[in-house]
């Protein structure tokens, strides 16, 4: 019986780990610093926000930029007061619209993407490119006819108008995204499910989609963000707090007359929080490995 040598005989400098952390920190800074500046500004008075040299940490920290959102009366005092009072509603609207868009998109795209990943059919390539084509016409070219269309459907200033338009935006790309992920789900899994007496839908629901989860999450995030960010269609298709989304309202903080940097910063922070929370909830799924250990060969 030999003694267990627990001490490594030759320790190697873990270059990979070091590089990893260096990169992670560098990217982290690149990603967060601009946003940090917004966050810091949102806790500053207007005067401090434009001071030279800049205050990286608010010197006279204040919540006033946020309090306006919950105390609409105070908001009246501010330039863009109406926008301030509309912010909570717009957040709600954005959440509803973006979530619905994501869900509707996933459903529609899943069907289509499945066909591209699993079935051999005539015209599949053409159809794929055709889908893309609908996305390639810049929004600016179709906004007016789209507006007319929605008007004739009587959908102006409703969630549905936004959900539908964002769905058409996101759908082609979502299909593209999903078809790739579907492709990497081993066919045998589906076959096993069929043998286990699942019909197509059940196979999709119980086996196929869970395994393709990273792709689904990526696609859902994509659709959600598309809806969350879109400005022009939201501007044209909505007019009241019943449907205005956060980008439209946030734009109100920046008028020609006065740009309320700090209030806008606060609105920006608020606008970023919901998707970020969702991202935190789903990030595990996104990096979960797919199909490990399921098939041999």
């Amino acid at each position: 019986m030999s003694t267990v040598v627990k001490i490594p005989l030759r320790y190697r400098i873990p270059w990979k780990k070091i590089a990893l952390y260096v990169l992670a920190v560098a990217f982290g800074l690149y990603l967060v610093l601009p946003f940090y500046w917004i966050v810091a500004m949102s806790f500053m008075h207007e005067v401090d926000a434009i001071s030279v040299p800049p205050h990286w940490i608010p010197v006279h920290p204040t919540l006033e930029n946020y309090l306006g959102f919950v105390r609409p009366d105070d908001a009246q005092q501010l330039v863009g007061g109406r926008a301030v009072s509309e912010t909570p509603y717009s957040l709600r609207n954005s959440l509803i619209v973006a979530t619905s868009t994501a869900v509707l998109n996933l459903v529609l795209a899943t069907f289509a993407a499945y066909s591209f990943s699993r079935l051999k059919f005539r015209g599949s390539q053409v159809l794929l490119v055709l889908y893309l084509l609908t996305r390639m016409v810049p929004g600016i070219a179709i906004i007016i006819p789209f507006y007319l269309l929605m008007r004739s459907f009587g959908l102006l200033d409703t969630y549905l108008a936004l959900i539908l338009s964002y769905t058409t935006f996101a759908l082609p790309i979502t299909i593209w995204i999903l078809k790739d992920f579907f492709r990497s789900v081993p066919r045998e899994l589906e076959e096993a499910a069929r043998v286990d007496r699942c019909g197509w839908f059940r196979t999709m629901w119980t086996v196929f989609l869970p395994v393709a989860a990273p792709g689904l999450v990526a696609a859902a995030v994509f659709a959600f963000m598309t809806a969350w960010n879109e400005f022009m269609f939201a501007l044209f298709l909505t007019s009241s707090k019943a449907a205005k989304t956060i980008p439209v309202v946030a734009a109100n903080f920046a008028t020609d007359f006065n740009t309320q940097f700090t209030v806008m910063a606060a609105a920006g922070v608020l606008a970023v929080v919901p998707p970020l929370v969702l991202a935190l909830l789903f990030q595990r799924k996104l990096v979960q490995g797919m199909a490990a250990g399921s098939v041999k060969g």
Binding site: E46, V47, I50, V52, A75, Q76, V79, G80, G81, R82, A83, I143, I144, Y147, L148, R151, G154, L156, D157, L235, F236, S239, S240, V248, A251, N252, A254, T255, D256, F257, N258, T259
Partner: protein
């Protein structure tokens, strides 16, 4: 809020009213007051100012436009041509309004000989200076000529007070660059004749000379901040308020903020002066007008006209109620001559500006004479780029005016 055809008036006679979102809360407050007294409901939608024009265009194109709305004088011609608006001639009280306002404003609200609006507010441009900085540099009087302006700036610069004493909002954006026009009008020149033919490279040297001065001040004496190319109006305001420029060219209205101790470190030091000219003489300045207008397809014309009158016209007491409201609340410029002598107004005005200069500017200001041409926006946009070229020394003034004239020619042809 989406009626079948134009106008969008609903059965209860309420007026659909749209404006850009400046002080939307105050607007609502004022409208509530109107509803209280007139019993006419107003359905008010403020629209992000940056996209105001676009959205209104979309609405009118789609047939869901408002009954009454704000209009920029820049957009008036297009919107009349686009059949969005209807003239107000012959409506009760309109003549009285046009008599009571400055001619420049009246001119700006007319197109094709017809009157299309009642004044919302107006403003004209002037030279704004920081009296404290000037006095530190030993200067007691604002400049009357451009050369003088440059010399004063050099003095300030040499005194080590400021690296760049002059700041101008010269970043590209969709808003017009009033200061260029102010410089041209301030020296008595024009870019176009009354038939809207370009003269800046032929009979009228002022534009070229002004550009030459700009080029010199920016690149030779380096008194104009090169960062101007990256400045929109708001950052310029912020810089002024922070004592970082001695001079700028801006709207009179800006001084209210500049001199507000709550918002500005330069409060009390900011003064306005007539536009300095090439020859040192007094010539004029540029003005703009924002108006209330009436949609062509409105189904509630009577109510809408009542609203317009409340907002832009004269009240029963023959006083412009809303124009006074805006001045007292926010210092917005007024088109009504009589207000310049209204004691209450003067008292309020004194807090931030010299009432005499203020009124004098209104008298000599005139609108751009090319507002009515369909290609004005394109020209203005092109002009900004050309002026940026001059400021950054990429373009020579003579080439600049040639290019402007050529642009005007091309655009004219395009729209013929």
């Amino acid at each position: 809020s989406n009626g079948k055809s134009g106008g969008g008036g609903s059965s209860d006679g309420s007026v659909k009213f749209e404006g850009w979102d400046y002080e939307a809360a105050l607007v609502q407050q004022n409208l509530d007051n109107f509803t209280k007294t007139s019993n006419i409901k107003v359905d008010y939608t403020p629209i992000t100012s940056a996209q105001y024009v676009q959205k209104v265009v979309a609405e009118f194109t789609g047939g869901g436009g408002p009954d009454a709305l704000y209009v920029y004088d820049d957009s008036l011609a297009a919107w009349v041509e686009g059949d969005y608006l209807q003239p107000l001639d012959g409506l009760p009280g309109v003549d009285a309004v046009y008599d009571a306002i400055y001619p420049g404003n009246a001119e700006a609200m007319m197109y094709g000989g017809k009157r299309y609006g009642l004044p919302y507010y107006t403003d004209s441009n002037c030279l704004i200076y920081n009296a404290e900085i000037l006095s530190k540099a030993g200067i007691s009087k604002p400049p009357a000529s451009l050369d003088e302006l440059e010399a004063q700036a050099v003095k300030i610069k040499n005194a080590g007070l400021l690296q760049y004493p002059i700041g101008l909002p010269a970043q590209l954006s969709d808003t017009w660059w009033a200061w260029v026009w102010a410089l041209v009008y301030g020296s008595g020149g024009n870019m176009f004749d009354d038939q809207q033919a370009p003269i800046m490279n032929t009979s009228d040297h002022v534009t070229k000379d002004v550009l030459t001065w700009l080029q010199h001040a920016a690149n030779t004496t380096k008194v104009i901040d090169p960062a101007s190319l990256q400045l929109l109006p708001v950052p310029v305001d912020n810089a002024m308020k922070a004592n970082r420029y001695a001079f700028t060219i801006g709207a009179r209205y800006a001084l209210r903020d500049y001199n507000d101790p709550a918002k500005s470190k330069a409060a009390g030091k900011m003064k306005m002066a007539l536009m300095p000219s090439l020859d040192g003489k007094e010539h004029g300045t540029i003005s703009n007008t924002r108006l209330y207008a009436l949609a062509k397809d409105t189904e509630v014309k009577d109510n809408a006209v009542k609203l317009l009158t409340y907002l832009g016209g004269l009240g029963a007491d023959n006083k412009p109620y809303t124009a006074r409201f805006w001045f007292l609340q926010r210092g917005l410029g007024f088109a009504y001559k009589a207000m310049a002598t209204d004691p209450e107004i003067v008292a309020a005005l004194k807090k931030f500006a010299d009432p005499a200069v203020y009124a004098h500017l209104a008298e000599i200001a005139k609108p751009r004479n090319v507002l009515g041409v369909p290609w004005y926006t394109e020209f203005e946009t092109e002009m900004h780029k050309v002026v940026q070229g001059v400021l950054s020394n990429q373009t020579q003034p003579s080439a600049a005016v040639d290019s402007l004239a050529q642009t005007a020619g091309t655009l004219k042809k395009k729209y013929s």
